[in-house]
Each structure stands twice: as structure tokens, then as C-alpha cells.
């Protein structure tokens, strides 16, 4: 909380014109945010939120060196447990003769699609943010990259892991509703045993990226503590425990422009190291190994007036031995996204985006979203959105699955942003 306030103060201070240092860059934003949910008549949750968020970014380039710092914070006046602050980037880089060495906290964005992101798994997330694009938390890492003519080979070592930010117990976006406190986090190492150390052995990844004519292809292999959807364990009489397991993932992304059409794809195969139930006291965990594939197509049409219409269709499927395994893997198992973006391309940068995600496996699950944004001036912007979630009620006596946990958590949001 104190960190978040400090960050907000820094953001406000930087909102004044920045000094013009030749090699320095800086940007940021301070935003007032309000959100309201349909009332759920539950005293344990809050149906609205009101807060401020800030992001600051400063960078300095003096080849072959470069440094960057970027941090984000939010203060919620209604639910203080929702307040947070974290570093997104804080790194030093050396780049010369096709080699790149980067040391420090960073965010990696391994994604090609808009809604489903099987390949994009490195960073921890703030689980109280947008499902389709969760806020990422910087992960300390050492990155060595070699540029080989339109291709990059990158090796990454992550010596420690950063905890995911679980939603506030009062949040309507909390997947663990019913618990008055945040779940405790249990981390399982590759031996299946609990580990308390944040210095979690070496996590690591290899990434190969190649541009082939109009296509971008990336392949990766990663060994790390998975911080996607946790296994949830509720022992009688105790608090809920979110169990995160070590895993190996092999996958990739693909983007290709074919005329006005963009083709996109992501895939990942995941193997989770089994829990040692004898030592941890956990019940036998379900086998969570699975393959996840997302494909998408985006078509853009620009009129003579400059107005841009964009149509997006994406589909995702999770392949595993059982429906239970698929649900354990992700909120979205077999889904279709249909979206439309209207960009006026005018001085106000007015933009409308509507989307709907239909669950093909669990009939009746639907998430619809509509948002509008525009510039108010050169430094102020406003955005508003509405989100509807439809999901059937959980079976009697059964815990909610996937979107069932967020059933009827429809929300409307308003954000007023001062950029600097």
C-alpha cells in the first residue's frame, strides 16, 4: 500500500514537463478508475471499486548500454487489499555486434493472439485485472540473445520467481470466492515437494525467433514454476491453498500478413511435475498435462474516410485426457472469440471494441465485452467498458469451475487518464 502511494506520488511529480536530457526517455500515466458490479448481496464482497493507478517509465540509452525502469501501482479506496505496486522493468542492457545481454526484471510478451495466450507464460500476473490481458509483474532474469539476420536465439535464466498477485478476497473477480482471506500459496519444486525459497533453483528458457518473408515464427522451451491457473486445495477447516507446480513447456507463436489479413497462432504442450503427496500432505493432484492451441484471423478494412474496421475471430482448444484436466488447465477450454474494432483514426483517436467469447464445451458460458475510448486533449483520455458474464450455476455441492466462479460478475468501468 505504501509502495503504491509512493508510486502514485512519483507519477504525479513526473506529470510536470520532463527535462530534455538527450538520451533519456520518459512516459507515464496517472488514472482515476471506477468499477461497479451487479450486486451479489454478499457481505464478503465489494460491488464497486474506486481508485487511482499510475505507471512510470524512464529509460536511458548510451550505446552499447541501455537502462530502463518501469513500475505500476494502484490504490483502491474501497478495498485496500486491492492496492498493489510492482516493478515491471528494471534492467541494464549491453548490445553490440549482434549480441544482447540484459540483466534485471523484465516482462516477456510471447503472444500473437488477442484473447487466448497459450505461449505467453513467463511472468506472474495480477489476477484482479482483465482476463484476456492480465497485468504482468516483472520477473528477474538474465537474457543473452544473438541476432542472426532476421532471427534471434535467446537464452534466459530466471534465478528467482515472483509471486502472482491473487485477487483481493473482497474482489468480485476472485476465483476463490467464499474465503475471507487470500489463499495461501504453495509452491512445488521439480521433486514435487514444497519449497519456500524465492530462489527457486534456476528457471530457464530458450527462444528462437525468425522472420520469414511476411511471417514471424517463434519457438520456445521453458522450465519454470507455472503461475497460470493454480490447483486449488481446500482442506476441511483450513484456508484455501493455491498450489503452483513446476512444469516444462514447449510451444511457439506464429503471425503472418497475407494482404489485409493477419493469420495468428499459438501453441503449447505442458508437462507438470507431480506432487509428492507423502511429503506435502496434499491429496493426489489430477494429471494436468495438456496441449493448448489457439488460432486466429484478423481482417482489416480501411475506408476512403480513413475509418478502420477490423474483424477478429479466434479459437482455442485444450487437449487432455479428460474434461477435468482441461478445466484444470485454463478458464477457457474450447472457446471462440468474435470481435470487432472500429477506429475512427481522427484527432480524438475514437475507438470502439466489442467482443464475445463463447464456450463450446460448457454450454451457456459466455463473456461479452464492449469498450469505448477517446482522447479528450493532448494529455487526457477517457475509456469506458462494460462486461457481461454468463455461466450456469455450479452443480449442488460442487465447487465452481472456470467462469462459474465469476457468474453474474457483470461490471462497468470508467477510466480517466492523464498521460505525461
Amino acid at each position: 500500500m505504501r509502495c503504491a502511494v509512493a508510486l502514485l506520488a512519483a507519477g504525479l511529480a513526473l506529470a510536470s514537463p520532463a527535462p530534455a536530457f538527450a538520451d533519456w526517455t520518459g512516459r507515464g500515466e496517472v488514472a482515476g478508475e471506477a468499477r461497479a458490479f451487479t450486486p451479489d448481496d454478499n457481505a464478503l464482497t465489494t460491488d464497486y471499486g474506486l481508485g487511482m493507478a499510475a505507471r512510470v517509465e524512464v529509460g536511458n540509452t548510451h550505446r552499447p548500454f541501455q537502462e530502463k525502469f518501469r513500475a505500476f501501482g494502484r490504490v483502491d479506496t474501497v478495498d485496500p487489499q486491492r492496492s498493489l505496486a510492482f516493478i515491471e522493468e528494471a534492467w541494464l542492457q549491453y548490445r553490440k555486434d549482434g549480441w544482447r545481454l540484459r540483466v534485471g526484471a523484465d516482462i516477456l510478451n510471447w503472444t500473437a493472439t488477442e484473447a487466448f495466450h497459450p505461449a505467453d507464460v513467463v511472468n506472474s500476473r495480477n489476477l484482479d485485472s482483465d482476463f484476456e490481458s492480465l497485468e504482468k509483474i516483472g520477473e528477474p532474469m538474465v537474457v543473452v540473445s544473438r541476432d542472426i539476420r532476421n532471427a534471434d536465439l535467446t537464452a534466459i535464466v530466471m534465478p528467482m520467481y515472483i509471486k502472482p498477485q491473487l485477487a483481493s478476497p473482497k474482489s468480485r473477480l476472485n476465483f476463490f470466492q467464499g474465503s475471507p482471506v487470500r489463499p495461501s500459496i504453495l509452491r512445488l519444486g521439480p521433486d514435487g515437494r514444497k519449497t519456500d525459497s524465492r530462489w527457486f533453483g534456476p528457471q530457464g528458457a530458450l527462444l528462437y525467433e525468425q522472420t520469414i518473408r511476411s511471417a514471424d515464427l517463434a519457438l520456445h522451451a521453458i522450465y519454470h514454476l507455472d503461475r497460470g491457473q493454480p490447483f486449488v486445495f481446500a482442506a476441511p477447516g483450513s484456508t484455501i491453498t493455491a498450489v503452483f507446480q513446476t512444469k516444462v513447456q514447449v510451444g511457439g507463436t506464429w503471425q503472418q500478413a497475407v494482404g489485409p489479413v493477419l493469420l495468428k497462432g499459438e501453441a503449447a504442450w505442458r508437462h507438470f511435475f507431480e506432487a509428492d503427496t507423502a511429503v506435502t500432505g496434499l491429496p493426489p493432484l489430477d494429471d494436468r498435462d495438456h496441449t493448448q492451441i489457439a488460432l486466429g484471423v484478423e481482417y482489416g478494412l480501411t475506408l476512403d474516410s480513413g475509418v478502420d474496421h477490423r474483424f477478429i475471430v479466434e479459437g482455442q482448444a485444450v487437449f487432455a485426457e479428460s474434461g477435468l484436466q482441461r478445466r484444470a488447465a485454463t478458464i477457457f477450454q474450447r472457446d471462440i472469440l468474435v470481435a470487432y474494432r472500429l477506429a475512427m483514426n481522427d484527432v480524438k483517436a475514437r475507438e470502439l471494441f466489442v467482443s464475445a467469447i463463447f464456450d463450446l464445451e460448457d454450454a451457456g458460458e459466455l463473456m461479452a465485452n464492449a469498450s469505448y475510448s477517446q482522447r479528450l486533449s493532448d494529455t487526457w483520455g477517457i475509456s469506458t467498458s462494460i462486461r457481461l458474464i454468463e455461466a450456469p450455476a455450479p452443480a449442488p455441492g460442487m465447487p465452481p469451475q472456470g467462469l462459474q466462479a465469476l457468474r453474474k460478475a457483470d461490471q462497468i468501468r470508467l477510466k480517466l487518464t492523464r498521460y505525461f
Partner: protein, 280 residues
Amino acid sequence: MIGRLFSILKIRFDDLPGEATMNLNQISRFTLFGLLIAMPAMAQSPEEKGLEIAIKTDQADNGFVGEKADMELKLINAHGDVITRKMSMKTKEGTSSGDRTIISFSWPADVKGTKLLTWSHKDRDDDQWLYLPAIKRVKRISSTNKSASFMGSEFSYEDFSGREVEKYTYKWIEDTEVDGRPVWVTERYPRESNSGYSRTKSWTDQEYLNVVKVEYYDRRGGLLKTAEFKGYKKIDKFWRMGEIDMYNHQTRKRSVMTWTSRDLGVEFYDDEFETDALQD
């Protein structure tokens, strides 16, 4: 058409003899160049003369190595209200392939840090990637939507994209004068169906080897915009404009692009124009 503004491809005939291998495309260009040199001795059709002028102006820009510039774009509506946009541009001249360009937007504040990377190509659509700093994501975008407005101005992305000679056909109209300076008047017709224009009509200064005025005609053939190119200065051996004044006849809005600083001959690193460098 708008001079060396952003990413612009060039036919580099002077590169050809030095190439270790010469593909069929290069041979045909070399042959074409030979024919064009011999053309004055023969009767030229308006189309041949138009192509000759296009190649001559295109070649005049060869050898700039790299260009770095800061620009201001003023958007002026029919009531005279003015809004200012700012950006910077880096272009690395291509050798065997096309130029590579990064445009970094710096104003208004909400687009600060947004970057557009373009790899121009002579024989196919350009490759383009957009970096969105808010979500720290590099996204490939289709380069065929060229008629979209550039930053809400009367310029379109097409006005700033490559002017590869091969992607158009030409026609010479007449030789005349503008402000007492001799110019060629030519028309250019896009070969690509995704152009926002049916044709452009250009007035090219015979000394600057750059346009001083261009009329843009929409897909239905109506006059859409007129651009005037002003403030030419010679930097080394290259003539460069200082301002483009674009007037949209249909919306009655104007946009004025002004260069606030410009350096030529800048030696950029290759890796500055890779997609991973956008996030730096």
C-alpha cells in the same frame, strides 16, 4: 512521391556491378537502365519519359546511408484550430534489400513511445510492426491498409510509405515552370489495388529532383488532396524539403509537416531496426 520522407525503396543500379551474383530481376533492371540511357536518342512515349523521370529522381537519393529527423505535424481544421503532433524518424538505407525505418511518436502524450517499424521491399508488400508501450507488445500489422489517416491528419500512411518505381506506372504530361523554376509534370498510377488513390499528378523540380507539388485523386477519380513541398535545402549532395503543406479539398482541412531537425549520413546499427529493439 513525397521525397525521402520515411521508408523509401530505391533501385540501386550502381550496386549491381558489384554484386557477387546478379539475379534475373537485377539483370532486367540493368537492361532497363541501359535502354533508358539510350532513350533520349529515340522518340520517347509519354509513358517512357515518365518512367525515366521517376528513375532519375529515385536515383538522386542513393547513398544517403542513414537519416535521422524530428518532425512536427500541425492539424488545422476548417475553422483554423491547430493541433500539434510530434514524432522522430530513423531510416537506414538498404543495400540489396529495401530501407528500414522506425517512426517514434512522442506527442500527444497517449501515443508517446509508440513505434512503427517498416521493412520496405521492392517486390512485395512491406513488413510492418507496431510497438504498443502500454502493453509492451510488438504486433505485426498488415501494410496493405495504406489509406488510413496518419495520426488523424490529412496524410495517409500511403503518403509516407515506399515509392518503389516498380510499383507504379508513369506518364509524362508536360515541361513547365513553378515559381520560375523548370519542372516536369507527370502522372503516376498504382499497380496495387489497395492504393487509396487512382492516380497522383506531380510537379518535379528539375534541379532538386524532388517534387514541389502533388495532387492526389481518390479512387473515384475526384481531386482529394494537394500537397506543396517547401523550404528545400541542400544537405551534402541531397536536396531535402523542410515542409509539406497538405490540403484536403473534400474536408477543407490542412496538415502541415515541418522538419525541426535532420541529419543525413547517420551510421545506424543493423540491430536498431529489428523487432526486439522496438521494446528498448
